[in-house]
Symmetry: C2
Subunit: 331 residues, 2 copies
Amino acid sequence: MSLKHPYLLFLGNAVDQLAAKTANGVARWRPDWCVGQLRLEDCHADVGLPDMRLEQAREAGARTLVVGVANRGGVISDIWMRTLMEALELGYDIASGLHHRLNQTPQLRERAAALGRQLFDVRYPEQVLSVGNGEKRPGRRLLTVGTDVSSGKMFTALAIEREMKSRGMAADFRATGQTGIFIAGSGIAVDAVVADFISGAAEWLCPENDADHWDLIEGQGSLFHASYAGVTLGLIHGSQPDRMVLCHEPGRPHMRGLPGYPLPSLRESIEMNEAAGRLTNPECRVSGLSLNTSGVSESDSEHLLKAAEDEVGLPAVDAYRQGASRLVDGL
Amino acid sequence: MSLKHPYLLFLGNAVDQLAAKTANGVARWRPDWCVGQLRLEDCHADVGLPDMRLEQAREAGARTLVVGVANRGGVISDIWMRTLMEALELGYDIASGLHHRLNQTPQLRERAAALGRQLFDVRYPEQVLSVGNGEKRPGRRLLTVGTDVSSGKMFTALAIEREMKSRGMAADFRATGQTGIFIAGSGIAVDAVVADFISGAAEWLCPENDADHWDLIEGQGSLFHASYAGVTLGLIHGSQPDRMVLCHEPGRPHMRGLPGYPLPSLRESIEMNEAAGRLTNPECRVSGLSLNTSGVSESDSEHLLKAAEDEVGLPAVDAYRQGASRLVDGL
């Protein structure tokens, strides 16, 4: 799966800004790949790109229409269908991370086949995978892990990629989730592969590379999350990280979606992740912390970061406020 | 998925005894469910049941023809097709754990539909699963875990079930793999579910039960196996075991299929499995060891068991030689 850019981001009739968070992520991290946004009537989101119609964006070079909006149930709304069909006529490929597949929508599938366009359902891996083989491969790898789910793992990996590239280092973000795949242009949704192939998928995602090249791998789930820890462990084993950055949002009352499950301490989380990582890479260690302190003031944020640094003796940043410079220094 | 017994075990043209290991397991653990075995010409396996033809076994009560043989590639051989088609005509359902699906073989699918027979591809879960919710549920649970894959986890869980039932305890073996599913008559191949649903599948498999009822859950993989540990971790979290029995085959030169990966020590393995288990069940602990000492003499076996007991201070049995009595005492 390799998506052609530039993109036109389709926001449809998003009910609010959160419904367009996929488009938001793509616009933030790959502004150069996005010629504009396409909004229907009743769209309550705006990702800050020029509003464009299909023809206009196509003339501006857009090659893929990215469905950057989610709705209840993840279905392809009838309201969207006219736009999607017209996009095919105009020469676009279409990419979507919705639960309901473009490729299982007969009208789209048949027209795309007739016109020679591609439909990408990035939620559903199409690669033929092997089980992980555990063999060490050249190249350096950093994986983001979390005390909980939704703790900034994609954001942090992308911030590190941006920082490394600004320093002229060889680095690539490796996507393991839907928004990440739009941002990378390729990748694999590891939580959607058959369970036997989790570590194999991770091995496929970050193959051997130059000795000084960094793969910056988007983490998934958390070893402490009772719903998804299996995905996390397979991803750790397959990506064989040399370094991990632990992502954390201070102040959560419990693990997301699991009332009664407290968050682990930073130290406990570091130990568990390092123990898991050492199986396939004995050098694996956590080298920094990335805290999401968006809910507090600037000065409270500084206090939280300082406290975390003192607690575990590793550099801690809020990657949103400060970027990832100190995390890269820490490598 | 619920298989009707009695079974007729189909051994086909098995190239050797190992090719019929599925049939072997079913014949060993559910002799009462098996009216006989059906062998074609050139069959080099024998599971010790009366040889029967389809009609004869049907008259003896058989309701499901179980494909208990594997071949290279896991395909449904042309040589078998005539038998399978005839079985449908005679009133059998068919169950298979092969890679190639009965339900995707047009000839079988169409005839089964026309006759109202069922085709079970036990390798492929059909349940609609939810992600794990981590909520503690009544009933007691024991999960078998391993230092490595293929270390006797199914055998041990079944031996414990047999021992408990002989003592009049309420107990059910819960199957997570293909052979286990034939033996239990139901279950779910957890390594074949979508990765996000591993722990959810385990929760589905052993739902709430009476406070004194034991679910004896067949383990999969190993936390120390770089290919499959994600499956193992999700299974641990979802099954919320009160007790685990650690299975081990002494003397292996390395993890199966992974040259260069040494086996963990018993102590290390106990600690890692207990740490994983405590996330969803703080009372979780390893209560015994099950060693596969089939490769050594009776007296060497006794030495190995004694050494293991001394090493970790838990009862150790070879469940094949001795049964699981001491493991049940240890609960």
